[in-house]
């Protein structure tokens, strides 16, 4: 359960920690007399924006609105939450990737550094573990200089920025603070793009109307994890491990998956979030939805009622929904779901076989 901050919010945090960032504004607030060139970017909660046409250079303020409108018209990614405009940074001599994350194997913060750019995933970042107490130590600067070939001045400059990023991790309890690229210029370094991932203060801290942001971001606002593939079959499960295992069973059967959702904490309390999750899942237009839940405490009847509510709020045909359920009050759950037109099974293998058979028939 994490929050992926928008670039504008992430940069606000970094600037507060003393890290140089370009001057920037929301599109509506860009000063009229501003000199160009400018950079306009869509604000979304996912990476890979530039490759999908979500970043454009604009020669002058006068051309900004038209350029932003054209960029939005061509955009095919997740729902856009705004347009962020910045002054173009010139004099860039080199670009770096810099991040502070947690080394899961050793359970310590770790500094990652590499040459920056849009294809950084294809390069191997140098990892420098930091002390478990979250304190900065100068050996990290020496090591960066050693492996990246920085001169002393650049190493010191990058080290100061990394130190500030570590402070953000500790003070904000961030899971990830990433700058890519960090633009190195003759006298300074500027964070041109930034990602900050914070823990959700608690599940359901966001209003449920975040569902307008699409499945992945909408679920994230509910403390629920969702992923989106290219296939036409959606899977919704009552646990993370169960989601992985269900995805495995369907993949074995050559089913290509679209939405993949772990209901997680949404099943607790009154379970009202389940209906919204089902509706958001349906809005990804799946050919079928497999709901797979095995409840220990929450009644299957309660879950069933919310699934039906979610389906009623969507255009999804209940006949395309297969529910595999086990747990308390599963007979009542079955009655509710079957009355709504869903197919209900208790056996996981049978449920996966059924979904795979229908999927294969649709392909024929």
């Amino acid at each position: 359960m994490v929050r992926f901050l928008l670039e504008s919010d992430a940069k606000h945090i970094l600037a507060g920690a003393g890290i140089p960032v370009p001057r920037g504004w929301a599109l509506a607030d860009v000063p009229a007399g501003l000199a160009g060139p400018l950079v306009a970017k869509v604000l979304v909660e996912e990476g890979g924006r530039a490759a999908r046409g979500g970043v454009c250079r604009v020669p002058s303020r006068e051309l900004l609105d038209a350029a932003a409108a054209a960029m939005l018209a061509d955009w095919s990614g997740p729902p856009v939450q705004g347009i962020w405009v910045e002054e173009m940074v010139d004099g860039v001599q080199h670009e770096l990737y810099l991040a502070i994350s947690i080394n899961r194997h050793r359970c310590v913060p770790t500094l990652l550094v590499a040459d920056g750019g849009t294809d950084v995933e294809s390069r191997t970042a140098v990892s420098i573990d930091l002390p478990p107490d979250g304190a900065w130590r100068q050996y990290a600067v020496h090591r960066m200089r050693e492996v990246m070939g920085f001169d002393g001045e650049v190493a010191a400059r990058v080290g100061e920025i990394a130190r500030s990023m570590l402070r953000v991790v500790v003070e904000q309890r961030a899971e990830l603070v990433e700058v890519n690229p960090l633009a190195l210029r003759s006298n300074d370094a500027v964070a041109l793009d930034a990602k900050v991932v914070l823990p959700a203060a608690r599940p359901f801290e966001f209003p449920v109307d975040g569902t307008a942001l699409g499945l992945v971001a909408g679920c994230r606002r509910m403390g629920v994890n969702a992923a989106l593939g290219d296939g036409k079959v959606a899977v919704v499960t009552s646990g993370a491990g169960l989601l992985l295992a269900t995805v495995d069973l369907l993949s074995q059967r050559r089913v290509e998956l679209g939405a993949m959702v772990d209901l997680g904490g949404a099943v607790f309390g009154d379970g009202a979030g389940i209906a919204d999750i089902i509706r958001m899942t349906a809005e990804t237009a799946p050919a079928q939805i497999l709901c797979n839940y095995f409840m220990q405490f929450v009644s299957c009847a309660t879950v069933a009622e919310h699934i039906v509510r979610g389906l009623e709020a969507s255009a999804q045909d209940p006949a395309t929904v297969v529910v595999r359920q086990r747990g308390r009050e599963q007979d009542r759950g079955r009655e509710i779901l079957e009355a709504a037109g869903c197919t209900v099974l208790e056996d996981l293998e049978q449920a996966c076989d059924l979904v795979a058979r229908v999927d294969a028939e649709a392909l024929v």
Partner: protein, 298 residues
């Protein structure tokens, strides 16, 4: 016999007045688990379900000598609760809460190692030895005593093993859930030797996931075990680069894939299941028919 918990375990619930804490406490009492205290600052002197509530873990230790804590407070408060439990002398801590900040989970793991405290979690579904103690989100009527030990990163995945085994009349010795976060306090390598020494455990089921290297580390222990191990690593079909479910279920290295980890476990002598359904088949095949009890509901 049992693993980690015992009949002498005396439990405190930190956050007992919250939704999850109150639910756990009620059920543990009903199951006969020795819940002796709840901890909620400012609520000391009250009771919930007849359980005395204390302001601090220190007070609960002094008054009712609890040795195990189940932490159900919200994520941002978990680190403080854990540090208090350690400082007060608690020897085993189960953190049920999900959403603990990773940087604080890392500090908890380091702190637990330095102090010798057994930490399950964060995001652990808990631990249960049927008929002995149940500090988990598994219903006691769902787990019957038997010869299969289960160690898992996922809680819900254990249901998919426990239920079909029960349908065959096979129960469990202990179910130990490590937690789905990237940094957790207890690993497969910590638990497997305990099962290997447990006379009640005849087969161990290891349920892993993509992400991390815990299953690969476990293979080194599997190689030395006398007790047979059935292993399943979930996530072969997971989309690359996307977090699926657990915070720890994200592949960063080639060695963190389900395929890589299953291969290493198989080479170490584990009986590797290709999917969750095969876990039951492999496990049952390793057990002599005489070890089965009557099927549940028979």
């Amino acid at each position: 016999m049992s693993v980690v918990v015992s009949a002498a375990t005396r439990v405190a619930v930190q956050g007992i007045t919250g939704g999850a804490g109150a639910m756990f406490a009620r059920r543990m009492l009903d199951d006969g688990t020795a819940v002796r205290a709840g901890i909620v600052p400012g609520r000391g002197g009250t009771t919930i379900h007849g359980i005395p509530v204390f302001d601090t873990v220190f007070g609960a230790r002094e008054a009712v000598n609890v040795d195990t804590s189940l932490i159900c407070v919200p994520g941002p408060a978990v680190y403080d609760a854990f540090c208090e439990a350690v400082a007060a002398g608690i020897s085993t801590v189960v953190v049920y809460t999900e959403g603990v900040p990773a940087v604080e989970a890392a500090k908890m793991v380091t702190h637990a190692r330095a102090t010798g405290v057994r930490l399950l979690g964060p995001a652990s579904a808990g631990i249960v030895t049927p008929g002995v103690a149940n500090i988990s989100d598994l219903r006691s009527d769902f787990v019957t005593p038997g010869p299969v030990g289960i160690v898992s990163r996922s809680g819900t995945l254990t249901y998919e093993v426990i239920a079909p085994l029960a349908d065959l009349g096979i129960g469990v010795s202990t179910v130990c859930c490590l937690g789905g976060d990237a940094c957790v306090g207890t690993s497969f390598t910590d638990v497997l030797p305990l099962f290997d020494r447990d006379p009640a455990t005849e087969v161990v089921v290891l349920l892993g996931e993509i992400g991390g290297l815990g299953e690969s580390d476990a293979a080194k222990v599997v190689r030395t075990m006398k007790t047979p191990v059935v292993a399943y690593v979930a996530g072969r079909g997971a989309p690359p680069g996307q977090r699926l479910g657990h915070a720890g279920a994200l592949v960063a290295l080639a060695a963190e894939t389900a395929q890589a980890k299953a291969k290493i476990l198989g080479e170490a002598g584990a009986h590797v299941a290709g999917d969750i359904l095969a876990v039951t088949t492999l496990t049952a095949a390793l057990l002599d028919d005489s070890r089965r009890t009557a099927p549940v509901g028979a």
